[in-house]
């Protein structure tokens, strides 16, 4: 087994780990961060599977834009609960 095989298997294990960890997190912020890391790992896997087009799209959309949108949603949710540090003092 050469290095690239080991790297691939490690990435796949990390992917499964991320997928399980999203379910076990307590706060939404942790879940969002794990989702972003899941997308980054997935884009590396696409690259190793020789589809760079998909890798670029996954990195830009999965890790970039949707992460930002999730974070904005979290901010809005907290603003509507009016209990956190978002509220002006």
């Amino acid at each position: 087994m050469d290095m690239i095989e080991i790297f691939k298997i490690t990435l796949l294990l990390l992917l499964i780990g991320c997928a399980i960890a999203v379910n076990l997190t307590r706060t939404l912020l942790q879940a969002v961060i794990i989702f972003i890391s899941y997308s980054s790992i997935m884009s590396l896997i696409w690259l190793l599977m020789e589809s760079p087009d998909l890798a670029i799209t996954e990195a830009a959309v999965g890790a970039g834009v949707s992460g930002v949108l999730f974070l904005m949603t979290l901010k809005r949710l907290r603003a509507e609960n009016t209990e956190d540090e978002d509220a002006p003092k």
């Binding site: 087009d53 834009v65 209990e83 003092k89």
Partner: protein, 317 residues
């Protein structure tokens, strides 16, 4: 006016009595909010069905929930693995799709003029798919706008009102030098990279969708570090809708022309160019630009909607 002046001169009565009272700013102090939340929690606790739910949870509802979740996950994994087992092996020839794949690989460069066969596929052979994708994205954006857009009619509480009106100015970032400098540096390079990916889609990995998403991310970084007011100066609502409409209309007409000519056995007069050059691939580059503009606009529009409930400029009365 003259009356007020006379009153002020004579020194009797308050001049400001006649003026309309200033709008009240809602009390957002910590104690008030905490008190409100406590009352709300008490109200919720007193409801009967919540009590029942809590009791059920203590009786092992939680454990049952986890067991059911794990079982359904395992069942889903089993179904997926069973289906994957029926697929042909990696790299093995699949007789049902072999014809199309061979055609794409062997004649793709010749027929589309694009070195990147994936671009040739999604914007030439399967251009209708990409057209539908762009429309789906725009439809999703319109739905998000229906749900999230805020104006004076759907602001239900004074707190909401206060937040959306002065929220962006209240949490002003214009004094954070580190954020702005790094945002300018990072955002401009990301935007440039997006343009490169977009324009070079027919020669290297990338294309309309990924390039547009990267450009949208650059815009988002710019807006996050400099505040929405700076972006509103050049990215107005009118520009947004004009760009998206023109891109989609151009895509429709260009691809409609090509399909019409092709279906009727006529020759279309769009030069293919030399493969590998920037201006090559016939219609692929313009279509890439159109898709990229739609994707970048909708990505930034989503961000703008989520952040303050409107696109471009202030909330309309």
């Amino acid at each position: 006016m003259l009356n007020n002046w006379k009153k002020w001169l004579l020194g009797d009565g308050e001049v400001l009595d006649d003026l309309p009272a200033p709008r009240e700013i809602p009390d957002l102090s910590r104690e008030k909010i905490k008190e409100k939340n406590r009352q709300k929690a008490l109200e919720i606790e007193n409801k009967a069905w919540i009590k029942r739910l809590v009791r059920a949870e203590s009786r092992g509802f939680h454990i049952a929930y986890i067991v059911i979740a794990v079982l359904s996950c395992i069942g889903m994994i089993g179904v997926l693995l069973f289906l994957i087992g029926n697929l042909p092996n990696y790299g093995q020839e699949n007789p049902r799709t072999l014809e199309v794949v061979t055609r794409y690989v062997e004649k793709g460069l010749e027929e589309t003029g694009a070195v990147n066969i994936v671009s040739g596929m999604i914007l030439d052979y399967r251009a209708f798919d990409t057209l539908g994708e762009s429309h789906v994205l725009f439809t999703a954006f319109v739905c998000a706008m229906i749900l999230l857009r805020q104006d004076y009619r759907n602001m239900h509480s004074p707190v909401d009102d206060f937040r959306s009106l002065i929220g962006d100015e209240y949490f002003d970032l214009s004094k954070d030098t580190i954020l702005q400098e790094s945002g300018a540096l990072l955002g401009s390079w990301i935007f440039l990279f997006g343009i490169y990916v977009l324009l070079n889609g027919q020669n290297s990995p990338g294309g309309g969708f990924s390039g547009g998403a990267i450009m949208g991310t650059g815009l988002i970084i710019f807006a996050a570090s400099f505040g929405m007011a700076r972006v509103d100066k050049f990215f107005t609502r009118k520009l947004f809708f004009n760009l998206v409409f023109l891109s989609l209309a151009f895509y429709n007409f260009a691809k409609g022309y090509v399909f019409f000519m092709g279906a009727n056995g006529l020759e279309n007069h769009i030069p293919k160019g030399t493969p590998g050059a920037l201006l090559s691939g016939g219609l692929i580059l313009p279509l890439d630009i159109a898709v990229g503009i739609v994707v970048a606009c909708t990505m930034f529009g989503f961000y703008s909607l989520f952040r303050r409930g409107s696109i471009g400029g202030k909330i309309e009365p």
